[in-house]
């Protein structure tokens, strides 16, 4: 019984991590498309690495940098919104 509970908890954690990862990938895809439509350079920072999404570097264009705090904060906001909504529903749930 205890093993079953641990397995269920690990599965739930993995699913939560997977949903956040998919959501972050979706956000990045959206930002890439939007930066292309709106003609801005996009720089995403994460742990000393820079991901540059650009068009032609020699064309002077505005650029948007998403700093490390923004990248980490994005994951936290996504997770927090999901968790908040789930907790709210769990507490207010009534049998139909």
């Amino acid at each position: 019984m205890r093993v079953r509970k641990v397995t269920a908890a690990v599965s739930a954690l993995l699913l939560i991590a997977l949903t956040v990862a998919v959501a972050e990938a979706a956000i990045f895809a959206l930002l890439t498309v939007f930066s292309s439509i709106l003609r801005v350079y996009l720089v995403v920072e994460l742990a000393d690495r820079y991901l540059l999404v650009n068009q032609a570097l020699w064309v002077p264009m505005p650029h948007v940098s998403v700093h490390e705090a923004g990248t980490v904060g994005s994951g936290l906001v996504t997770f927090g919104c999901g968790l908040g909504a789930a907790a709210w529903r769990y507490r207010r749930w009534r049998p139909a």
Partner: protein, 158 residues
């Protein structure tokens, strides 16, 4: 057309599956019937999810994640709209934490340009059209409204 019955939840199929398959077989294979079956499957899943507390919370979690994705996309486009027409950096910050910065024109490139080109580049930045951002923002807000309203709309389906 009877394969569409397999889209229904297992508990539902166990109870009504055979009966429903018989019914579908005597009905004409029209698009409206297929659409009815699809909507019926969505309603059946909604009922199964609503009956279970954990499944209901999991559904709410996914809904919250979708809302968060759209909110962040709105924040991104709003930042571009706010920094539009300004060559000074525009920050999106919370206290000491700077999440994102919009720079009207890359300062390095700007500094390398000659005087006449600097003037041209400034005009280019200042004259950027604002309507693509506005249209995108409107679409995103509309999408957010739909996503927020979806659970209520699903609850009304019978």
């Amino acid at each position: 057309m009877s394969w569409l019955v397999r889209l229904y939840p297992r508990s539902w199929r166990r109870r009504y599956g055979a009966e429903m398959e018989d019914l579908v077989q005597v009905m004409p294979g029209r698009l409206s019937v297929a659409l009815d079956l699809l909507i019926g499957a969505a309603i059946a899943y909604r009922d199964v999810i609503r009956r279970d507390r954990v499944l209901s919370a999991a559904g709410a979690y996914l809904h919250g994640v979708c809302v968060a994705v759209l909110l962040q996309a709105i924040a991104f486009v709003s930042l571009i709209l706010a920094g539009q027409g300004s060559s000074d950096p525009t920050d999106f910050r919370l206290g000491p934490l700077v999440f994102a910065t919009m720079v009207g024109l890359p300062q390095v490139i700007y500094a390398q340009l000659g005087e006449s080109l600097q003037a041209q580049a400034s005009i280019l930045v200042l004259s950027r059209a604002w309507w693509p951002e506005a249209v995108l923002l409107t679409l995103l807000v509309f999408a957010l409204a739909i996503v927020i309203a979806t659970p209520r709309l699903l609850r009304r389906l019978r």
